[in-house]
Amino acid sequence: MTDVSPKGAAGVRMRSVDKAFGPNVVLRELNLEVEPGERVVIIGPSGSGKTTILRVIMTLERIDGGTIRVGGQHLYHEPVGDQLKAASEKHIRKVRSNIGMVFQHFNLFPHMSALENIMLAPVKVHNKSRDEARETGMELLAKVGLSEHANHTPGQLSGGQKQRVAIARALAAEPAVMLFDEVTSALDPELVGEVLSVLRDIAEEGSTTMMLVTHEMAFAREVADRLVMFDNGRIVEEGRPSDVLDTPQKPRTREFLGAVGDQ
């Protein structure tokens, strides 16, 4: 499988995006451009707003200002003539279908088996037949190494297995952009490796655009095309992972890397 996403990869362009929760400003006129097929890892101290970047792209939080484009289409706006108008839910749904997300706490549906979790969106959203969806579902489960767990419910799976099912579920929709929000943070240390190796496979074989928020610096160095250091609602520093990790230019980055202890 050379082409995971038939839709092709899509880029993400965030232009002066603002987001605040009450008095707490989380994103300050953020400009971030991700090229199609690029893998960007976002690092930064907790509470810096890095997760919010992913959440506003997934439309889990709505932005206060600025624009976001995914695959060239405005996410929160509809062009009317040469003006931009606030987008309808229908428009947002259409653009959102290009995006997939994997969560820190998996968020699997506990009343469904692993396979049913994966099949739901293809059958209900993408109008695939059940047979077709089951076939792709089993392929995806094989890919994440969980074929024999197809009929197990999330309650019967370990944390690492749950997260692998969640990744397979997100992949089933064949998104052009994949968002990974601290996907290993809730796992026991010995289970982190199995999830990272699945991510590595996706990064290697696919043309999918990936945006990852993580604290796994060694993994970031290995997978990322670009590393973004984020703090206090702004990008502090960005560049090739080896450059940022080995020769950080900004004192804030040095301080952060010193605190997390780069492996």
């Binding site: 439309t59 997300m101 969560f103 968020n107 969106a121 309650g155 929709a173």
Partner: protein, 287 residues
Amino acid sequence: MSEAVATSPTPSGPSTDQKLAYEPHRKWYRRPEILGPVAIVIAVYAVLLGVEVQPGRYRSAFTADGDLALDWDYFFHLIPQMLTGAYVLARATVLGFTGAIVLGLLMALGRRSQFKPLSWVSAFVIEFVRSTPLLVQLFFLQALFRTTDVVNLSGVQILVLGLALHYGTYTSEGYRAGINSVPDGQWEASTALNLDPITKWTRIIIPQAVPNVLPALGNNLIASFKDAPMGGPVLAVPCMLFFANTIRAEDFRSVEPMLLIGAGFLLISIPAAWGLRRLEERIEYER
């Protein structure tokens, strides 16, 4: 577990702890909330039997008027009539509560609606109905639907309507609590998978809310069954209480019919409560 089995000949602290851990649900006859009512029923029956054993002691020489003593022949003679009354009530309860389940869901969804006027109207109706007694509502509905020629509903129909409306508001609050108990992550995953609202509600939210709503629904069902007899005196629905009133007026007897009604309710309510609890246990799943 195999370890516990292997070491079972020597009774020790940890193994009993382990045994408890494997049986999270106590047997129904060990649950005080079931044992209590059952004990009360048995005690009541025992007292009644005691009364029957020594009838002469309580039975007055007078049987015609003003006699309050228990007449067992009369008691058993009432059973067929009361059974037909119980049937009418049970049917009204089932119909009314079915209506309440549907109406409650509509009101709960209406209250959650993004469309503000619908949300306000739903909230107002829920608060208004919840804050007034069923008795008053039945009189009101009777005045509305029985005194005009335009709409003329029977007593049973008004009772069903009243129960559906009154218990619909209670069920809607149950639904609301159940829906709120579905974790945020499930809503977010639904958005991330781009599920349409119908799929989100029917496949994700409602299936997970139901186990949380079920205890409230069960309690409401039993409460509505206990409230249904109001239809007798108010609406002249031919139920047990209506018969009891008639009997009191004609034969000046209250003890036998009322005793029969109490026993009848216990005989229906307790198995119903037990059945609902079993249902709750079955429907639970591991999160």
